[in-house]
Symmetry: C2
Subunit: 227 residues, 2 copies
Amino acid sequence: MKQIYSGKTKDVYELEDGNYLLSFKDDVTGENGVFDPGANTVGLTMEGAGEAGLRLTQHFFEILKEKGIPTHYIDADIAKRTMTVVPATVFGKGLEVICRYRAVGSFLRRYGKYVEEGQPLDAFVEVTLKDDDRQDPPISAEGLDMLNILSLEEYETLARLTREISGVVKEDLAKKGIELYDIKLEFGRDAKTNEILLIDEISGGNMRAYKDGKYIEPLELEKLVLA
Amino acid sequence: MKQIYSGKTKDVYELEDGNYLLSFKDDVTGENGVFDPGANTVGLTMEGAGEAGLRLTQHFFEILKEKGIPTHYIDADIAKRTMTVVPATVFGKGLEVICRYRAVGSFLRRYGKYVEEGQPLDAFVEVTLKDDDRQDPPISAEGLDMLNILSLEEYETLARLTREISGVVKEDLAKKGIELYDIKLEFGRDAKTNEILLIDEISGGNMRAYKDGKYIEPLELEKLVLA
């Protein structure tokens, strides 16, 4: 088993059958010890974060599988904290796709002249380039097309999948009285078929979720959702 | 004559007939004494900058008038350094619309992971919010629509006008062997008809122009173009 990538919150290995194995770590992104799903640095290590992240990821990817929404997910091994996935190539040097239901985080930091904190947004989709040195700059559909990262047609697919997947997560959280404020997804192309797939994970570290107006920490979210 | 606005590079007065009078100053935007059309601060005062800016603005707005492209321009008085315009309301709290032919400035700072400095771009249009406190954040068509600043249909008009106007300027500069790298435009709605109009000015302070690979300062640009 060959390690092919070491990321902020997980490592990636290549299996003998050609599939990939994701190994979940206990590190979460943030700054100065405070969790922030939009941050580019590993801010803190939380015991159990890897397992909780994998449990939630498995939960959501299984729902998406049932609904026929394309993802890289094959299966998960909770005891080993690993997930088996089909290999996928990322767009350009990696994109993050955000779906927003409330104005918080970087949206508020950018557009605070026009919105109040927490103001409802209508499943607003935005794409940022993964680029730590440049603070993950936002980019338009036309920009992605011009830089040959994604065609305008592929962007439409990406935006539609983002709204579908985020809607699935939002609905599932709502069953437990939890409100999804925003969520960050990653997509790639199936290395064999070129189909656009949801990749990476869907865990507390990828979203801001609130209950009774109070932010829910990633580890707490896993307990509430899977209770 | 009532002063209704004092800007970085010009003041605005209301005339008795309801039209507006723009009075051009000798201040140009920049930082630490270096001219930068994208900067939010008045970096330096250049003697003659107001008159040169108005001369170039008159030159370009007269060409646009001939071509039937809608602008706020009525006429200009070079000796008084003033321009008479029809009143227009800005979109939201003000937008800047940029058309890029080469990757320089904030485009390069944001997307430098994907482009080389000076790489040709295909009349790439982007919109930023005028917001000094938030460094004029870029915003997508969908974002403008959601924040009720501009509808998707109005955005299309804005983008089309931006490419047309920038093309006119680019072509005119090319006659003097000058290459337009990027240009920043402002639009508004005609206060009476609601039609989308080019407003503000088109001068050296709004663009990056190069000759024989060398950047041309605003005052020098006026001399070269109007020679």
